[in-house]
Symmetry: C2
Subunit: 106 residues, 2 copies
């Protein structure tokens, strides 16, 4: 089992679940009502999301409320940040080139 964030958000249903419970915590049944799939299928997705700590549970009687673990979502940001730095540097280099060309024109 790989079970990392990137594999977790690869599935469109799981991404939809994430945006759904980002607003408020929900039970598996309530979540399943929003999709054309069974509760068991949603339960499986929630298991995967829980395994990589993207989601946390809160038991209330026989119901279990699932909510988003925002901190974990930011790990995706971290990976993008590393790339952002690279492409910003690239743009800066392009700026330098343009600046040099401008100077030469003068």
């Amino acid at each position: 089992m790989r079970r990392d964030i990137f594999q977790a958000i690869a599935d469109p249903t799981r991404r939809a679940i994430i945006t759904l419970i980002a607003l408020q915590s929900m039970t598996p049944n309530a979540i399943a009502d929003n999709f054309h799939t069974t509760r068991q299928s949603v339960s499986k997705h929630l298991r995967i999301l829980t395994e990589c700590q993207l989601v946390k549970q809160e038991q209330q009687g026989r119901e279990i409320y699932y909510s988003l673990e925002i901190k974990k979502m930011k790990e995706i940001d971290k990976w993008l940040e590393q790339l952002r730095k690279i492409w910003e540097t690239r743009y800066n280099q392009l700026d330098k080139v343009l600046l040099t060309m401008k100077k030469q024109k003068k």
Copy 2:
């Protein structure tokens, strides 16, 4: 074939390829040298990355240079942005609650 960005970045090798060619464009052989896998395997990954337009090719004689399509990477950002809004709102609501509590204390 699903072939969307999220599925593309789900694979760790593909993520490594992305960070690799983010710095400079590279040929499949050069990319493969960085991993414990065959050139054909890398070629397959590049095909997937090309299909979802995360990567662009530039033929130079018999060599093909692959480079990152930065614009497309930002689509991941877009999805995160939508979530960012939600959780920022949530924090603001928490701020309001705290503010109300403070006022009541007075």
